[in-house]
Symmetry: C2
Subunit: 344 residues, 2 copies
């Protein structure tokens, strides 16, 4: 595999980059909220506008007690600050000594029904001195093992990626498996999806060991692609953002009317504990928010409304819960799954 | 205030230090478990013995579904390793390049009844090359504001401290308020108690800014005391450890038969979320355990059996919940509280 040299700094962004990305992030929040309210049919989003004393602010939208969604939060934020936190400067030392601009939209949905997966989406954009970058993705966390749901979610995002580059899906899918990994549990958070960070058009997809310390489940020799412009990346993020509803809605439709037992609900509440563990121990967005004096209620909106912990739980062999652990909490080639492979 | 110079390394520990501290930590676990089973009257502890591949092991004991305790965990562990994690080496650079020995007993109790506080205890001991130290403490996390409970807990530990040094209580009480502090919530975890770390007899009680980044609610100019021997510190920790049952049992007795409403139970489940946030984001013991490849189930035994998060909750003014926030989640001089001060 040939590795093309990476230029020393990214090309300058367009002069209206902040206006364009901010308008996009807001419209993505609007579109997702409208669609989720339509899908839910009962719940409505309530909005809080907030300002950050150090500069910037956001709008947080929460739905609770919907027909489908026990809790759903969709945040938009746009903040300025004097210096990025150390965890980011370690990855982008060129940003040291510069003020920063950051904007993003993020979402976490916790459905009532344990057969509907929890899902997360986040897209973000940074500018700091000579550097700028896009990051984000979307990932699915099922409680019960439906192969076709994982395959549909992945295939939808693969199609989005393939419009921009033939390697994007493979690379960003692997990155997602590595990022959303609970080292202390030796489990992925769910079946993954897409994740990417520090995309600044320099042709650098993903290089070097995982900066978050997750398990390197795959080789890191993923190579480079030719340089991309700011507009290329902006369009790519736009397409990914608007692929979320088509990736998730059919799963909700298939599962929302399935009856569930108390045992299944209890398993969902137990597994939600892993979501809490990931977000508070590992998640870059949560840590960035808390480190930059962000709005705590908006940052922790991702935490589930009700959660259980149970000492020493292990699933009984041969059950759907055991299949979740064995297959769905380890990386799989979901985009190429076909119904004939199902053992269910 | 005079500051005596601190010697460059602590005096050597006794030749049988590990045998003595390990026997003490086990007997503390035994004694606490026996007393808690007696207090509960119904629940029993189940024990798991475990070994750590890198060296050492422990015994984890859990009670679930007791009459008083919804979940209670009491851990003993004794581990060896090649190198301490970076977070500890930063505080004790003399330990770099040396193997380490660490032992400790820790406990977290989550009662059913929201009028009985959650409580935590941990005592630990480290040896690494030229350095050794004791650390630990106990702290109380009430859900409803009973001044006499907080005052009793603090007074009991103050009496234990006063047997060893007239400044211990003041210093370790303040350290506890600073350590068990949720910066992102601007709240203490509860009413505190005692906390100390890095006690190696060099006369150093507490110096410099809080290494955990909690709010420095008090001046750090707490001064030094004369050097203490290993035996002095061992006896002090022993006394503190055995003060826990007398500090907590009267509180359980006072509250266990008080009826509670669903609203009060819901508030308890909500406040338990802060316990999760503290332990996963800030707690040194949890981070040490996860960083040193500890036994995850034993480390996370501290997490509550059932927890709620709720976006944007604030207590209604004039309610007991508001009094908790206003008074009990800020540092108070509990040991000197007298019933005449109560507004309840």
């Amino acid at each position: 595999m040939t590795v093309t040299p990476v230029s020393s700094k990214p090309a300058a962004p367009p002069s209206d980059s902040r206006a364009r990305i901010s308008a996009f992030m807001k419209s993505l929040q609007d579109s997702i909220c409208e669609n989720l309210a339509r899908i839910d049919g009962k719940g409505e989003f309530k909005q809080d506008m907030w300002e950050r004393p150090e500069g910037g602010g956001g709008r947080s939208r929460v739905m609770t007690g919907g027909d489908v969604f026990e809790q759903g939060g969709v945040n938009f934020s746009e903040v300025q600050g004097e210096t990025l936190p150390p965890s980011i400067l370690k990855q982008r030392p060129e940003a040291a000594g510069h003020g920063f601009y950051a904007t993003g939209t993020s979402m976490v949905l916790h459905p009532h029904n344990p057969f509907i997966p929890t899902v997360h989406l986040n897209y973000r954009y940074f500018e700091a001195g000579p550097v700028w970058w896009f990051g984000g993705g979307a990932d699915l966390t099922p409680y019960y093992p439906f192969h076709e749901d994982a395959a549909h979610f992945h295939s939808t995002f693969k199609q989005a990626c393939d419009r921009y580059h033939g390697e994007y899906y493979n690379v960003f899918k692997r990155w997602c498996d590595e990022y959303f990994y609970l080292k202390h549990r030796q489990e992925t958070r769910g079946v993954g999806g897409l994740f990417f960070d520090y995309q600044d058009g320099r042709g650098q997809l993903y290089r070097g060991p995982n900066p978050d310390g997750g398990a390197a489940a795959y080789s890191n020799e993923l190579g480079d692609v030719e340089p991309r412009s700011w507009d290329d990346l902006f369009n790519f993020v736009n397409t990914c953002g608007h692929s979320f509803i088509p990736a998730y809605e059919p799963i909700v439709d298939r599962r929302r009317n399935t009856e569930y037992t108390e045992r299944q609900r209890n398993f969902q509440l137990y597994r939600r504990g892993r979501y809490v563990e990931f977000n508070l121990v590992y998640d870059r967005g949560t840590i960035f928010g808390l480190q930059t004096n962000g709005r705590t209620e908006s940052i922790l909106m991702s935490l589930p409304p009700l959660v259980r912990w149970e000492y020493g739980y292990t699933p009984e062999p041969g059950t759907p819960e055991a299949e979740l652990y064995d297959t769905f909490l380890n990386p799989q080639d979901w985009a190429n799954w076909s119904p004939s492979e199902s053992k269910a």
